[in-house]
Symmetry: C2
Subunit: 328 residues, 2 copies
């Protein structure tokens, strides 16, 4: 089974695990390589929080906006052409404005909250929003249950958005906990995607391992599901030449006393991975990773343009489809 | 005690009962005649509703926006310079857009809902919002308890906003009920304002009697409080020459089989009123109203400009202060 010689193998499916911005770039690339109806993106919900009485799901929204073509490319989050009238007015009223919500983006949170309030689960709500925005692939929350990333820091535990947005990642990280993870359940939709006999590859997108991928893996059953798939599981390094493309990944590695390079995520997931994709700049890390039984592909992983996203997605899929099965 | 010869009597207070647009015009006029710290506006909450998970208080907001100078003068509701990005986006998501909420206005509902959710009562929340917007007079909800105007129609009972906005007042009205009124309590702040020994006048603003004033009077204790005040209670006709300045007042009078003229509100409130103010166009109605023991002033009551509002407020106060006490 190969991609190089032609298109995506007929009927084959692909599951991607993703956080926000970095992961969404590759997810967009994958949506140009895998037919939308065969592509499932499992989204991190550890960043979710309740704010201003609304349920905010930053990673789901970034994926949804990116895959619908509505995302702001330059700012890296939110909607293109966004306005901020509501937040300005909220500031005048003395309300909480540390988490910036655009006027059009607010509609997503209002509609999501309204639907959740009337009893729909997050999977259903996300599906409805995606249909309205003409998103082709399935975006599935890792769980419909409450799961919240808590960042342990030198200033005490902080909810993820408080750490990330309000405190601008300044506190020193000592660890992470995932509130609710013990009792969270994989959704039926995620389980179905992971056990689909047509599954040809699982891709762990280049997202922060600690705060985007670990909360997905923290859902009981997720690691077992990944170990059980016969399709290869491939991760793409979220770090290039010792620096994160975006966000606090490198800072966290340093504060946790881990090597600040692309080998750290590979070793973190080694029991799950058949293959790992590093940037050409990190090709020298390949022997150490391969020594752990994980095949390595080095290629250009920095995604500036849509062409970059599609090219990387194609390279990752080609790598995955040509790996021996049952290596993970 | 007279206004004509000088300013507002030192230390005297005034209470106004008001609905939305029409009432807010006179309330604004009153705020130019009565020192803000001596003016209390008791607002109808029968129009309030929960929408998109938010608590919307249309009459409180109209008063707040009008008295802060932020109201849109032409549209008659909402904020000047408002934008509608959130509603446009909500429409794309298939959400409920029949009740139009501006982007800046949304901040009011978000902040109100957040504060109510954490346990503040509506009186406290309204006070905080008014302070942020530099509103001088006190705007007090008639009650902190839930009270909802239900419009009985030929199509069955409708929540007020469903009748007013969604159905555009088309259904034929057969009556009104005020859900929750039996158990609603006057707030301590309203009781205090009504029993203030410095109270010099109570003004019932030119608001719709059925849906703006009646829901205030429906709060147990309100009618008794009005009967107990020694200050004169004065109402201003919301109908001029048989037509409502704004809204469905005349249509409702007709559907309820009541005379469609300015005498109807006067007769409706006659047990409470010492005086009634009609437009010069309705001076011929004075004898019938005076025959019920209610003094009548006829003057220009149509408020187009700020000058009109202040002039009418001054005329109403002058009328009130020169009426014999204990007539109500």
């Amino acid at each position: 089974m190969t991609l190089a010689g032609g298109g995506w193998p007929e009927g084959a499916t692909c599951v991607a695990l993703s956080g926000g911005v970095g992961g969404a770039k590759l997810a967009l690339g994958l949506s140009h390589v895998v037919p939308p109806e065969n592509l499932t993106i499992v989204a991190n919900v550890g960043d979710d929080f309740e704010h201003l009485g609304l349920r905010i799901c930053p990673d789901i929204d970034t994926l949804m906006y990116t895959l619908s073509g509505l995302a702001d490319q330059e700012r890296g989050w939110g909607l293109a052409g966004e306005t901020w009238r509501c937040m300005e007015a909220l500031g005048r009223l003395g309300g909480e404005t540390w988490f910036n919500l655009g006027d059009a983006d607010l509609a997503t949170h209002l509609e999501r909250s309204r639907r959740l309030h009337r009893g729909e689960c997050l999977t259903e709500v996300t599906g409805a929003l995606c249909r309205s925005l003409n998103v082709g692939p399935s975006i599935l929350p890792a769980t419909d249950d409450r799961l919240r990333t808590i960042v342990q820091t030198d200033r005490g535990p902080l909810g993820f958005q408080h750490y990330f947005v309000r405190e601008r990642c300044v506190p020193e990280v000592t660890g992470f906990t995932f509130e609710g993870a013990e009792t969270a359940r994989l959704s039926a939709e995620v389980s179905k995607a992971m056990t689909d006999p047509r599954l040809a590859a699982v891709v762990i997108c280049p997202s922060n391992p600690f705060i985007s991928i670990d909360p997905i893996l923290a859902v009981p059953g997720m690691r077992d599901a990944l170990r059980a798939v016969s399709a290869p599981v491939i991760a793409v390094a979220p770090v290039v030449a010792g620096e994160a493309i975006k966000g606090p990944t490198a800072k966290m590695m340093q504060e946790l006393g881990l090597p600040v390079d692309a080998s750290t995520p590979a070793l973190r997931y080694r029991d799950l991975l058949a293959g790992y994709v590093v940037d050409d700049a990190d090709a020298d890390l390949a022997p150490a990773i391969e020594g752990e039984g994980v095949a390595v592909l080095s290629t250009g992983t920095v995604m500036r343009s849509l062409e970059d996203r599609v090219r990387l997605a194609r390279a990752v899929m080609d790598f995955a489809l040509n790996l021996p099965r049952d290596v993970g």
